[in-house]
């Protein structure tokens, strides 16, 4: 098992990690010392001050208008239209002073409202996350460390070309291309509180956005020079009861899109072209917060807000329940061949691994075969002696990302908020999946002083190794290349990849059991 104490100590304050070369992380005092390579994605600085977040609260615009005397039935109809049954009941109950409604109706409305509240509070006590407002919910379940406060809210690399999309604090999305200077800005009426972005694989243009009330799919024409594509280029996919959407995952074959919402126990399987969806519902969990599709397309990880996650098998869409011990599954990532899942659990600072027999499609009706997960790394708080004094590093895991070749694993560690000297940091591991699964320390990635890492992503097809894109909390987006020669891993092909032998769980692994139940 790997732990943080094996890592080289973090850099003193003021040093910035630039790149990895010859198995060492190279750092300098500022970003400008960086020797430019022949190809570079644009490094950006998006300051929070330049963005204008709108301060509008949900449903708050109503109060800004002059009170208008409408007939009672009109208002009831409007309330029914705007806010459904509870809105109608509210309207009836609140119009008590006017005395137009029969008294029994008012009493009835009040009673039913009370019952509704009681039921929802009961439901909320089962699933505490349901009491959050939708914005807080997105902030809670987003993969970004500080979703509400930083200027960049989500980032996604295009799977085949050198462009990436960033969602900003002002609810706009920009598409940056390494080859051209035009950066189209996408804005839509329904594009609010974007929590995740996903480019459609095997397609040049489709970008899916997880918004507050819907999923938007933009079709950004790559050859167009327009900087403001019209909102006619966006498809709106919405389903009642399925908001806010916090996670999206395209199938690697590009055929279907999954969306998840923490308030909806069903995850939606969208046929984007036909704008139709099939809900996949299972009892338990109270919602779905995070989705991650294995690169070979055979399995999907679906985390829930409670101490439970599921692994779906995609040929017959059956699932396996994995109750965790302490908290909800915060994040997870798949090895390139889809045979291994690494995940972390809220409240613990360890990385768990689950392995699956890699026989996609042949194994109908069963998602996996392993009966327990193993701890592969312990990232609990460790104190390092540096030139500038003691620094403690480590804590809960916010995000896990694995590079597409399966050689580098980046872990975004949240600092301990109670300690002043602890900060959030990115720990990078070297990984090997065959012949045995290994995690070796590589080093810490640090940014400018005072800037915490906020979001991390690997470039999906960097030729010289791996390229980690980091969004820092001060609005900078930087790219840290890891130059290495791949250890002869065959090119991951879509659909099928050769089976991987089981790891010998002897030396580096201490087993800790989680429970698995085969659910239907």
């Amino acid at each position: 098992m790997c732990s943080l104490s094996l890592f080289p100590p973090p850099l003193p304050a003021g040093h910035v990690t630039l790149y990895e070369s010859n198995n060492e992380l190279v750092s300098a005092t500022s970003l400008d010392n960086y020797q430019r390579q022949d190809w570079d994605p644009p490094s950006l600085l998006i300051l929070k001050e330049t963005l204008k977040p709108h301060n509008r609260l949900e449903n708050s615009s109503k109060a800004a208008f002059i009170h208008h005397q409408e007939t009672l039935w009109m208002r009831s109809a409007n309330a029914w239209h705007d806010a459904g049954l509870s809105g109608l009941l509210d309207e009836i109950a609140n119009s008590a002073d006017e005395g137009k409604f029969p008294r029994c109706m008012k009493v009835g409305a009040c009673c039913s409202l009370a019952i509704l509240r009681w039921v929802s509070s009961f439901h909320g006590s089962l699933f505490p996350h349901l009491t959050l407002s939708s914005e807080d919910m997105v902030a809670e379940f987003s993969q970004a460390a500080d979703w509400a406060g930083c200027s960049v809210r989500a980032l996604a690399w295009h799977p085949h070309t050198d462009k990436f999309a960033v969602a900003l604090l002002d609810d706009s999305v920009r598409v940056h291309n390494a080859k051209s200077s035009t950066a189209p800005t996408l804005k839509h009426r329904l594009q609010r509180n974007v929590s995740a972005l996903a480019w459609k694989p095997l397609c040049a243009s489709a970008l899916a956005l997880a918004c507050q009330n819907c999923v938007l799919v933009w079709h950004v024409d790559p050859s167009s020079l327009s900087t403001r594509p019209s909102s006619g280029c966006a498809q709106v996919l919405s389903q009642p009861g399925h908001s806010p959407v916090t996670s999206l995952a395209w199938s690697p074959s590009g055929a279907i899109l999954l969306s998840a919402s923490p308030v909806d126990t069903a995850m939606m399987v969208w046929d984007v072209a036909g704008e139709s969806c099939v809900p996949l519902q299972r009892v338990g969990g109270g919602g779905v917060t995070f989705l991650s599709w294995a690169p070979d397309g055979s399995r999907v990880l679906a985390a829930t807000p409670s101490a439970l996650f599921r692994v779906w098998e995609t040929s017959m869409w059956t699932c396996e329940r994995w109750p965790t011990l302490t908290g909800r599954c915060q994040t997870g990532c798949w090895s390139p061949d889809g045979s291994r899942l690494l995940f972390s659990v809220q409240g613990e600072s360890v990385i768990y691994a689950l392995s699956f027999a890699n026989t996609p499609g042949e194994l109908l009706g069963q998602a996996g075969d392993s009966k327990s997960s193993v701890i592969v790394a312990d990232l609990s708080e460790t104190t390092f002696e540096t030139s500038s004094g003691e620094t403690s590093v480590g804590g809960e895991i916010q995000t896990l990302v694995w590079d597409p070749r399966g050689e580098r694993l980046a872990v975004l560690l949240k600092g301990n908020p109670e300690k002043s000297d602890s900060r959030s940091i990115i720990a990078v591991f070297k990984t090997r999946t065959s012949p045995i699964f290994e995690l070796l320390p590589c080093g810490f990635v640090q940014g400018e002083e005072g800037a915490d890492p906020h979001l991390i992503h690997f470039h999906p097809h960097f030729e010289k190794g791996a390229l980690l894109t980091v969004c820092w909390c001060n609005g900078r987006i930087s790219h840290i290349p890891f130059y290495f020669v791949s250890a002869g891993v065959p090119r991951p092909s879509l659909g099928y990849s050769p089976p991987v032998p089981y790891p010998s769980r002897g030396s580096e692994v201490s087993e800790r059991l989680l429970y698995s139940e085969l659910g239907s």
Binding site: H160, T161, L202, C203, A204, S205, P222, S223, S238, Q239, P240, S253, G254, A255, I256, V269, D271, V272, A273, G274, E275, S276, C277, V278, P279, L280, Q281, G297, S298, T314, S315, M316, W317, T318, P360, G361, E362, G365, S493, L494, G495, Y496, S520
Partner: protein
């Protein structure tokens, strides 16, 4: 009409059994739904214990048992009708009149009739199970004057229920045909049958409840106005009397009876829910994946293997299931892919691969041909329209739709228009003269003739295109891509056109005048008809519908594209003998041609407008968006091949035009 005797092995061995299983399950579900119905129909909030015990006692009674037996019969007949009427290719009426014809078709008439009768039967069962005042058709008269005769009176509530059942059965049948509910769409993800049923069941119940509500409303309105007819008829034929002490039900006071409406709605929901459940189970069972063997070691099973089955045209369900299986095997079954890539044992030919890929390519090419033909038809319509308008008012605007006419100088066209009336045979002149010249001349010559031919015809009338189509066909599609260069020499001598006219045309002159006259008459009749709003409404093409009809079979194309592209992508690592490489140029060529045709199609008006999305409705409207799905999966398929092969594709032989398109895909510009 009921052609139950399909003797195809697949229908006999698979489809029948699947239908039988689905009907059996719906019969098994009947007792449960009946129990729920009985419970709900006798609901009384004030006496809950009494209500539950009473209902449970009643459930074991003979009435309920007998009703369930009858309902089983109903479900059986409904199931047989679903089996007879199902289709995998939706029929999309392109005009209102086609829709009306579809509704009035004799087959549909029988469908409606049987469903009305079944509805009546179900509502009779419902009336008996609810009991009380609904139970019998006759009741002893209460009124004093009839008590003397001790005769029987008509129980209008019972009649009201029976007629409501017939009405709901009929409206179910009507919605079934209008909403294309006989179209069986295939799911885009595979799930177990039980889970699919469980997932859709809430939707079925919700949909039935809402539909029942609408039906009750419509039925009450109908009964309010026309209810006296069946009542009087029943009274006279059965020699019953009308009870005058009770409110008759075609009055407002009679209809505003809450418990009556509730019972009506509950039994309507029960009726629709049992039928929709049968329908749902049938769809789930028929669309289940059927695994065809890729090759068989026994020659007598060869006709059941995937290559053979894929090439069969009938029955369509077989072809669809085969294509679905083909798409799935290509995606997630390495061992079956190996069978596809394997060589035949003696001889070493890739029979499996060539049969499968050949069949898919034929399917795709058919679609390309259809699209091109449609585009030609549409573009010729679009072309002639502005011309006849333009030469009347503003000749310069005539080229708005055709590429060749944009550059035509107006000064040149005006003399032709004035010259038109001189020679009535100019239509024939054009066809005879145009051939020795370059084909480009056809279009400028044609314009005055057409203008004359159409006369005062309103250009927006639906007849417009159809009249001129013969001429368009004669000239061939090449004309429409004419270049301006060919016309410029003609500008100097506008009279050179009519000059060589005389000898060949002279003989044809007389009959041509006569036929023209006939044609003119026809035009006038049509013209007069076209001005009537109703006829316009009936015969006008529905927007989008022709586009939908064109892509009605696209589910098959989507599977063919998915299957081919996955196999080609997998061949990069798995194809040991290189069997795929031989057909790669064909596959790429076919896909790129289809891509071009689809791109062009989406530039036509109405083609890219989406129908309004109905979220969470039971009625399946996926056939309306098949063209978008096809476009998306076509792009995905081409990308899958280009991403897998990358630069190697430059070595593949394709035409220059397609090379350019392919380059776009290699650069991720599409």
């Amino acid at each position: 009409m009921l052609s139950l005797g399909h003797d195809h092995w697949f229908i006999r061995k698979v489809v029948f059994w699947r239908a039988a299983a689905s009907i059996a399950w719906s019969v098994l579900l009947l007792p449960a739904s009946t129990a729920i119905f009985v419970l709900l129909s006798r609901i009384s909030v004030l006496h809950p214990i009494e209500w539950i015990t009473g209902s449970l006692n009643f459930l074991c009674g003979s009435y309920v048992i007998f009703s369930i037996v009858l309902l089983c019969l109903v479900v059986l007949i409904i199931g047989v009708f679903i089996l007879e009427f199902y289709t995998v290719v939706p029929s999309i009426p392109c005009t209102q009149i086609a829709l009306i014809v579809k509704v009035l078709h004799p087959q549909q008439f029988i469908h409606s009739l049987v469903h009305s009768m079944m509805g009546m039967l179900v509502s009779w069962c419902a009336a008996v199970m609810i009991g009380g005042r609904y139970q019998f058709l006759t009741s002893p008269c209460i009124a004093e004057e009839s008590a003397v005769a001790s005769s029987m009176c008509l129980n209008e509530y019972h009649l009201f229920f029976l007629l409501a059942g017939a009405f709901m059965g009929y409206s179910y049948s009507l919605l079934y045909v209008v909403g294309n509910m006989n179209y069986v769409s295939f799911p885009n993800i595979q799930q177990n049958k039980y889970l699919r049923f469980k997932g859709t069941l809430p939707l079925v119940i919700k949909h039935s409840a809402v539909q029942a509500l609408y039906s009750v409303r419509n039925y009450c309105i109908t009964y309010f106005f026309l209810g006296y007819i069946p009542r009087a008829w029943i009274c006279t034929t059965m020699n019953l009397q009308k009870d005058r002490t009770l409110h008759s039900l075609d009055t407002l006071t009679g209809l505003l009876d809450f418990s009556l409406l509730y019972h009506l709605w509950i039994s309507g929901t029960f009726l629709l829910a049992t039928w929709y459940m049968t329908w749902l189970l049938f769809r789930i069972y028929t669309t289940e994946v059927y695994c065809f063997p890729v090759q068989s070691s026994f020659s007598e099973d060869a006709h059941q293997c995937l290559p053979k089955v894929l090439s069969s045209k009938q029955p369509l369900i077989l072809k669809y299931l085969a294509l679905q299986d083909f798409a799935l095997l290509s995606q997630n079954s390495p061992s079956r892919r190996q069978e596809v890539f394997s060589l035949s044992q003696p001889g070493g030919h890739p029979h499996n691969w060539s049969a499968l890929s050949g069949e898919c390519l034929t399917t795709l090419n058919d679609l390309t041909q259809k699209l091109i033909a449609y585009q030609e038809a549409v573009s010729s319509n679009g072309r002639t329209k502005p011309q006849s308008v333009g030469s009347d008012k503003r000749p310069s605007s005539s080229g708005s739709s055709a590429t060749s006419l944009i550059v035509e100088p107006t000064s040149w066209q005006t003399p032709r228009v004035s010259m038109g009336p001189k020679t009535p045979g100019s239509v024939f002149l054009r066809s005879s003269v145009a051939s020795p010249f370059t084909p480009d001349l056809g279009s400028p010559f044609g314009s005055p003739a057409m203008k004359r031919l159409t006369g005062t015809l309103d250009p927006s009338s639906p007849w417009h295109g159809s009249v001129q189509s013969p001429h368009v066909m004669r000239r061939g599609p090449k004309l429409w891509t004419s270049s301006s260069g060919a016309e410029t020499p003609l500008n100097g001598s506008p009279q050179s056109g009519p000059a060589p006219m005389p000898s060949p045309v002279a003989g044809a002159q007389k009959p041509s005048i006569f036929s023209l006259w006939i044609q003119n008459r026809q035009e006038q009749v049509k013209n007069v008809l076209a001005k009537r709003v109703l006829i316009m409404y009936l015969f006008n093409k529905l927007p989008e519908a022709s586009s939908q009809a064109l892509f009605a079979e696209s589910q098959a194309h989507i599977w063919a594209l998915e299957g081919l592209s996955h196999l080609v992508a997998a061949s990069y690592t798995e194809d040991r003998f290189g069997v795929v490489q031989t057909t790669l140029p064909d596959i790429l060529g076919t896909m790129l041609t289809l891509q071009e045709a689809v791109d062009k199609h989406f530039k036509l008006p109405h083609a890219s407008s989406k129908p309004a999305r109905t979220s969470g409705s039971l009625v399946d409207t996926s056939y309306k968006t098949l063209r978008f799905a096809l476009r998306a999966s076509l792009k995905t398929a081409i990308y899958r091949i280009t991403i897998t092969f990358g630069e190697h594709l430059n070595a593949v032989q394709v035409s220059a035009e397609q090379r350019k398109r392919l380059q776009q895909f290699l650069e991720y510009k599409e």
